[in-house]
Amino acid sequence: MTDTASQFIVTLAQLNPTVGDVPGNAAKARQARAQAAADGAALLVLPELFISGYPPEDLVLKPAFQAACRAAVEELARETADGGPAMLVGSPWVDGGKLYNACALLDEGRIAAIRYKVNLPNYGVFDEKRVFARGPVSGPITIRGIRVGVPICEDTWMEESAEYENVVECLAETGAEILIVPNGSPYARGKNDLRLSISVARVTESELPLIYLNQVGGQDELVFDGASFVLNADRSLAAQLPGFQESITTLHWRKGEAGSRAITPPACSACATMCARTAFPACCSASPAASIRRCARRWRSMRWAPTASAA
């Protein structure tokens, strides 16, 4: 096995929040963190605006709701004093009188970092410019020694233009080693291919691996299919989470020899051979036997087939 410094264990919580149910959503985050802790993860990632539910529309303009979301994030932050996994969780956030679509890193009992969505989608079903202020472009966040770029959803969707900042390029240039992208991406036919091609483009440009985490569930006229996925820096599909169901999946990452920027799996020595052969290196590891079974199952159902969640 590898030494701990070059290992990074991340739990992805592809969950179904309810808009407005702040205590309920926080409880789901808490539950997922317990699972992440059991899996030995350093970090739990939750989808975009998980605490409020997505999309909150004008509810997010209500001061009482903003305060409730913040209080819930603060409570979760205090709980991370237990030394367990850090948590990346989305929430509306008021800062300097402006409201942001934010993602907070909670670790060691504190709100260790907070990042704001830069590029706000305002087309189709989205009208985020209506309620959120555009965040500043910021650098990566250091999480347990790993420099993580957190572009939020739309921040990965567009090429640079007069209207769009190239957030991913900025993160890559300022030393990000991995991109973790929380999303609230509604289902539409063919959407999976679109998400994948956008993400592959960002991976190609940045040469960084990318975790695409989406929520599941319905909200009024939108339905969120989850179908989260993970791309290695070489653009191979490292993991594919199931569509239309909740899934908590833990992935082991290990720094490769190719360069200091890239974190490349595999982490699981027991099934490294099989993983290497199938170009499917990021794997979950519980017991070696379970890993082999899981990898074999994934190998059989590779590409878009649903995969089992982590033990």
Binding site: T18, V19, G20, D21, V22, G24, G53, P55, P56, E57, D58, L59, L61, K62, P63, A64, F65, A67, A68, R70, A71, E74, A77, R78, V94, D95, Y100, A102, L105, R110, I111, A112, A113, I114, R115, Y116, D127, R130, G135, P136, S138, G139, I141, T142, T174, G175, G218, Q219, D220
Partner: protein
């Protein structure tokens, strides 16, 4: 408003009485139609309501009579109005005011039927005031007659949906001046419940109105459009999710714990901690 905008010859009034319709309502409606000079007809709905109830009698066997039967009256009226609209090409003007639309005091597929709602963004108390104003003054260019076009009794009589014996709106809602005061704070100012209570409104009433406002979103999403006149109307302005589990508990808002946020942790130009 329809007569002022289109002229009396292009507006018709239809009275749809049932057994809970008071004689005074029939009298006031006839007076209003006469004052406006519009075509007016009375179509009693008993046959249709009784027909629906007969069809549903087995399905509803053993179930108590409740608001369902009240709404059936409104839906019967809605069906008849839409039939007239369909046959003649005339648009049904629907009349739920902002107070009613806020708390869901309107029947979906009943009196909410219609293509346009000119008073959708006007609170009930303002409807009264505007009615009195119109009786005393006619806007320039208005096509309706001058003088007292709205019988004063319609303005002064306690509001009632007349869906059951001796019903008034105040059976289930606070007085409109109080309701509108609460709604204006909730809808247009997004005030926390605690602040509204601090303004002197009853805590339980405020909480109940807030709940009604939230759960009526699914109705409003299906409502006819209307003119925006307030700072925040339903439709284009106040875009709330239908699925919304947030309820303001009415406690003072928690203060943010700024000490919890790491100093260098904010997303900003300083966020490049290379």
């Amino acid at each position: 408003m329809a007569v002022d905008a289109l002229g009396a010859d292009r507006v018709r009034g239809v009275m749809l009485p049932f057994r809970f319709t008071a004689q005074v309502s029939l009298d006031d409606a006839a007076k209003l139609a006469a004052a406006l000079g519009i075509r007016y007809e009375v179509l009693p709905i008993a046959q249709a309501v009784n027909g629906f109830e007969a069809i549903l009698s087995d399905t509803f066997a053993g179930l108590p009579r409740d608001i369902t039967e009240e709404n059936l009256q409104a839906r019967t009226r809605g069906t008849l109005l839409m039939a007239i609209s369909n046959k003649t090409g005339a648009m049904v003007v629907t009349t739920g005011n902002k107070s009613e639309m806020s708390v869901g005091y309107a029947t979906l597929y009943g009196d909410m039927n219609g293509g346009f709602n000119p008073i959708k963004d006007i609170y009930k108390t303002e409807v009264f005031r505007l009615s009195s104003l119109r009786n005393a003054w006619k806007p320039e260019g208005a096509l309706g007659p001058s003088g007292e076009v709205i019988p004063v009794n319609i303005i002064t009589r306690p509001p009632t949906a007349e869906l059951r014996e001796n019903q008034t709106d105040q059976d289930s809602l606070p007085p409109y001046d109080i309701l509108d005061g609460i709604l204006e704070r909730l809808v247009e100012r997004e005030q926390p419940l605690a602040d509204i209570v601090a303004d002197g409104f009853d805590r339980e009433v405020v909480a109940r109105i807030d709940r009604l406002l939230n759960i009526a979103e699914y109705k409003r999403r299906q409502a006819a459009p209307g003119v925006k006149v307030t700072r925040r109307n339903f439709g284009r302005d106040r875009r709330y999710p239908i699925t919304n589990r947030f309820r303001d508990a009415g406690k003072p808002l928690p203060e943010p714990d700024h000490a919890l946020v790491s100093r260098a942790g904010r997303g900003s130009a300083e966020g490049f901690d290379v």
